[in-house]
Each structure stands twice: as C-alpha cells, then as structure tokens.
Amino acid sequence: MADPLDKVTLTVDGIVVQVGPGATVAAAALIAGLQTRVSVSGEPRAPLCGMGICFECRVTIDGAPHQRSCQILCAPGMQVSTARELP
C-alpha cells in the first residue's frame, strides 16, 4: 500500500503540480487551474464523465496526443500539455 505522504510531481503546461498517489492526470490539470482541451469550434472544455467515455479530458502526455487523462494515473516527471493548437 502506497504511503499516503508520497507525493507525485509532474508538470502541466509548464506548471509544476504535486498530487497524492493514485491521482489522475485530469485531476492534476484541474488542480493547475487549466482546462483540458479546446473543442473543434474553440470552446474551452474540461472532463465531463470522469470515466473515460466523453473524451473531453484528452491531453498530450509525454508527447503522445489524445490521452484520456481521467484514466491515467500521474507518474513522476510526466510532461502534460493541454495543447491548445490541437483541435
């Protein structure tokens, strides 16, 4: 069982975020005060369903786009970008 004091440090859009173990990348993005994606017509979007079905939580993780961040646990050193250039 993970030590509850074990924090995980990652960056989201260059912002350093510290989360507890078992935290999702989606939570990290929201903690950093960011939305997760921009819709095809330019609206800001953030997670809706929390269970990996709505695809609103998509971010780029370590260079890989379209990752459903609500289903992915934070790992130390992850580089996340809520890249606004991608639709």
């Binding site: 800001p44 809706l48 369903c49 934070c74």
Partner: protein, 434 residues
C-alpha cells in the same frame, strides 16, 4: 501474444468482480479486462470510503487466481473466441518492454461492461466544471480537491444523493440537490427502499450527511453560466427560476447501459438492454452478460448476476439456478428504479438551437432538427462521428428525437490503428498489472 482463457470477464465493477471470483473459485482459467486504473468499476471506485461488501469483494478479487489486464480495454472481436485488447496508456511508452495490445482467446466471454451517465444538453452544459454526478465523484476520487467548493447536484436517480453525501463528507458545500422526478414518481422506489433496512439506512445516512442541502424534486437546471468556466447555475422548479453561484455542477440523468460490445458481437438487445436467459447467457452462445447492461439495477443485482454467470459458465448449473431464483427481489427494485427515473418531457426543451449536442464535433441542436434519424444525422452533421463514438450525444439524441443508434462498428472503443494488425505482429509479452 495470445492468452488462452476459459472465461474472459470484461469489466471489474461489482458484476465483473463477482463473476471472476466465482469462476476462479470453480477452477476456471479467468482473465479480467478493465478500463480503469483500479478494479471496482464506477460505484466501487477507490479513493473514498467503501462499503463493507465492496471491501470484501475487492479483497476476494485481489486474492483470486485470475489474470488481470487492469487499465486495458477490449476494442474488437476479430473472430469468434478471440478478443482484441489494448492498453490505455499504450502510447505513453514509459515501459517499452510492454505490449500495447494483445489477443485473448476465450471459450466464454462475460460482458460486465456496466453503465454510463445520461447527459442532456442545456445552454452552458459544455462549460468546464459542469460534470456528471458520477463524473465529479470519479474526479474527486481521482484526486480533485473539493473541500470548500460549492457544488450543485442535479439530474435524476439515486446516484445524486450518494454523490452529494460523498462530496459533503469531503467538505464540499452543496446548496441544492435537485431531482427532476416528482415525489409521486419516486414513490414506488421509496417504498422498495423502506422495505430493505440496508438501503433505508444508507439513504438516511446520505440525507443526514447532506442535511445542510436543499433537496428539491421536480427541479432541474435550465442553464449554466460562466466565462471560461462555470460560475452559476439557473434552476427551475414549478415554473420558478433562480440562480445559484457555484464552482461545480454535478449533473447526470440516470444511467444508460454500455451495450456496444454486446452489439458488436451480435447479442440481441431488448429495449436497449442486453437480453439474457435465467443464467445470464445472451442470444449468442458462450457470450454472457451480467450487471447494468442487462438492466439498471444497482449493486446487489450486479453481484447476483455476476455469480450466476460465473457458476453457469463453470457448469454448476443447479447452483446457478438457485441463485437465479434470488434475483426476484432485486429485479423488482430495478423495475421501481426504472420507473422513478423516467424523464420529464420538459427536459427536451432545455436546449436551444445553438446549444451543442455533440461535444466531440460541436454539432448544435439546430443542425439536428429535421434530420431523418441517427444515421442521417451522423452522415450529414458529423454528430456521433467523434471519438466518443456517440456515447454522449447518442443517449441525448434518443431522448430528444427518439433516434436509436443502429449498427456498431469496430473498434468498439477508439484503438490504435495497429490494433487491426494480425496478432502475430505483437513481438512483445503483455505486462500484467495487478
């Protein structure tokens, strides 16, 4: 790499856990594929205090002799007896020795794919921090801080009270819990709950935890307001409207079953649910279904059905039948639940012409009016053509227009293009996560 199993269980919520444990206890070779970072499905998602039954079943699962593909999803079934699975974080590639995809050979397949929330469009519903009720609950369990935040909980169904109680216990301020149902409509469900001490206690405990919140029936959100994120929600009740400032709106209109994989496999559906016999076998031999996809009925029914299916697959038919007889009580609860959660037709009028219905492709309601059906809408407006594959907008379109989604095509979930390659192409050994 190809794995061989007596039974592959898809989904590790209550039904899947019960089926996997039961089948493993009967000595079958069991594989479990679950989309989430950890077992438990939605209702038993870790990150919060779990009821005793959840802890017991999770412990039994952890101790059971099963192969776990945790954080994997089934994307296709290229031939009878073979399921193609893919890892969620396949592209992040931190562990390059692990395969992205694998084929699972099964003699039996058990679909315990659960349910998802139904979302209805209304002005402002696409604002950041408007989430499902289960959606916000899942996010909080996944580390989203909620203490001191104002949350309006709305929609319909018993999930609302449970979510509100959990959030309140974590320090959220909940000005209102709004169910679109009337007390009269809820009455049969309430009667059922009164007859079951366990449920009654739980309900009372939830209401005690949320005693600072107004609980309003016949009430629903008509709009969400904000700039780059949610600032307030306008609620309506009996024609009166008022705004509530808030940080989050947790809004879901009950549940719809995840039947896509069942449809892909050719299982017959009835009224949108997977049709099964007494022992949970579908219309396709060797494909079984347990839990919410057969009818939204909650945890008890899911646990029962998972065990029935597990026993039936293992050939323990008389034991399975014995358990099946015990479904009656749980089934009448499910029926009462279904009636209580029927949606008020006024909810069809919430969206205006420029309210987005399909969030993946930003298709507005105005573009959908006058379309002949789901297929026509998809072809000519791109509604449902995005990565959610119509899971969000499809349920809304069914309520708004009566459209039923037609055939399901692979992949049943977005998958890497490479997942269509023949399995011999995988040179790597799949990593099994516990």
């Amino acid at each position: 790499m190809i794995h061989d199993f007596d039974i592959v269980v898809v989904g590790a919520g209550p039904a899947g856990l019960a089926a996997a444990v039961t089948a493993a206890d009967c000595g079958l070779r069991v594989g479990v594929v679950d989309d989430n970072p950890a077992p438990g499905g939605q209702i038993w998602r870790s990150g919060a205090h779990l009821p005793a039954a959840a802890r017991r079943w999770k412990a039994r699962f952890a101790a059971a002799h099963v192969v776990r593909l945790q954080g994997w999803r089934i994307v296709d079934c290229p031939e009878p007896g073979v399921a193609r699975a893919q890892r969620n974080d396949a592209e992040i590639g931190r562990d390059s020795s692990a395969a992205d995809g694998t084929s699972l050979r099964y003699r039996h397949l058990l679909l315990a794919t659960g349910a998802r929330e139904r979302f209805l469009p209304f002005p402002g519903w696409t604002l950041p921090n408007v989430m499902g009720a289960g959606g916000l609950d899942a996010m909080v369990r996944g580390g989203l801080p909620i203490a001191g935040k104002r949350v309006v909980v709305a929609g319909t169904g018993p999930l609302l009270l449970a979510v509100a109680a959990h959030l309140a216990a974590r320090g959220a301020e909940i000005p209102a819990i709004c169910d679109q149902a009337s007390l009269a409509r809820m009455a049969p469900l309430v009667l059922q709950v009164l007859r079951q001490p366990g449920k009654l206690w739980q309900g009372a405990s939830y209401r005690w935890t949320t005693r600072a919140s107004r609980y309003l029936t016949r009430c629903w959100p008509v709009s969400a307001e904000g700039d780059s994120r949610l600032r307030s929600v306008t609620l309506q009740r009996d024609g009166k409207r008022w705004s509530v400032a808030c940080d989050y709106l947790a809004c879901g209109f009950h549940l719809v079953p995840n039947t896509e994989l069942a449809s892909l496999l050719g299982c017959r559906l009835e009224h949108g649910f997977v049709a099964t016999d007494q022992l949970m076998q579908t219309s396709v031999p060797n494909i079984w279904c347990a839990g919410e996809p057969t009818g939204i009925g909650g945890v008890e029914l899911s646990l029962l059905e998972g065990q029935i299916a597990g026993l039936a697959v293992a050939g323990r038919t008389s034991d399975a039948h014995r358990l099946a007889r015990g479904r009656r009580g749980a089934l009448s609860f499910a029926r009462a639940l279904h009636r209580a959660c029927r949606l008020n037709p006024q909810l069809r009028d919430l969206a205006s012409h420029n309210t987005i219905v399909c969030r993946c492709e930003d298709v507005e309601l105005g573009a959908l009016l006058g379309r002949a059906g789901w297929r026509d809408a998809r072809l000519h407006t791109r509604c449902g053509m995005g990565p959610c594959q119509g899971r969000i907008c499809g349920a809304a379109a069914e309520f708004l227009f009566g459209w039923r989604a037609d055939s399901v095509r692979p992949p049943v979930f977005p998958a890497l293009v490479s997942s269509f390659l023949e399995p011999e192409a995988d040179p790597m050994t799949p990593r099994e996560a516990v």
